[in-house]
Symmetry: C2
Subunit: 152 residues, 2 copies
DNA sequence: TGTTGTTAGTTGCTTTTGTAACTAACAAGG
DNA sequence: CCTTGTTAGTTACAAAAGCAACTAACAACA
């Protein structure tokens, strides 16, 4: 037993990518958004940004595109396109804000509210399944750690 | 104090998107890859998939595109494009496998090895900073949880 | 008013990703 | 040898994201 591996570098210099956090994050994010959002897309034909916008409008009520953009940290061009898509699906209505005619008050129409309720149920089911898988404690810990990471 | 909020839905039906795991994952993944990979891109002009491929070749030595694709769970078309880009930067060489001429043996050239070493150092620095921020215990816990999530 | 600077939102263009179809090489059986 | 089926890798096309430039509305002030 002279050599343990045929790796091209000394072990001291090696770094295991499979434990590299940004890599793990990307991997996990892909895996989970596949599980959830792909599913969701099939049902309502919505893209990820669209259901994020829907989520915010459903949860917090009438607001402007700017507010959504800030709250959700989504770039304004993405919000703009998502709003248009949701309007075309008749999920929301836009009314020019009379106080400041540059902006519009966005709000969910009944079909949008229905989709929001359905989305909430799906999200809750998803979280329950996750807690089953990771355990209640660890699922909570994960959310906590991810929140801390996002603030940077 | 009659109403606590002007939300359009009953609280019982509400679901807080800011605690929704797939959403938190996407947010955190974006934030962290910004911190790391954007930085890295500037230095070597590489995209995320490119340095992932580089990582695998540097760490495990000569292998085929197929093997990279399997080990790293990257779709073969992405690997194909990354390999071409790395070849154009003269970071790797491709030699047709004489055993099976459909595939090629890929290996890092000196500049690629240099980039790999630099990447390892940067990744280690990144992880150190993360451990400082989250604490050693929690950083480890995070990696552990993310690994469990990826297996699905 | 008119000028300058800022903000909300949209549009156009370029880069990147995802998907499906394709080529070339192989393998097994007739 | 000639099918038939499979595999490694590439290419072409469509969907999506990122970025910069643009329009319209506002605000402050000479």
């Amino acid at each position: 037993m002279v050599e343990k591996s045929a790796s091209p570098r000394e072990d001291a210099d090696l770094f295991e990518i499979s434990s590299f956090t940004p890599y793990l994050l990307a991997q996990a994010a892909d895996a989970q958004s596949d599980v959830f959002s792909r599913n969701y897309r099939n049902r309502y034909g919505m893209l990820r940004t669209e259901w994020r916008v829907l989520f915010h409008l459903g949860r917090h009520g009438e607001m402007s595109a700017k507010e959504i953009s800030e709250r959700a940290s989504i770039h304004k061009t993405k919000v703009s396109r998502a709003v248009r898509a949701l309007e075309e699906k008749r999920f929301l209505s836009r009314v020019t804000n009379s106080e400041d005619r540059r902006s519009e008050r966005l709000s969910l129409r009944p079909p949008g509210q229905e989709a929001f309720r359905h989305l909430c149920r799906a999200a809750q089911d998803y979280e329950s399944a996750l807690e089953q898988r990771l355990g209640r404690q660890d699922a909570g810990k994960l959310r906590d750690l991810l929140k801390r990471l996002s603030r940077s």
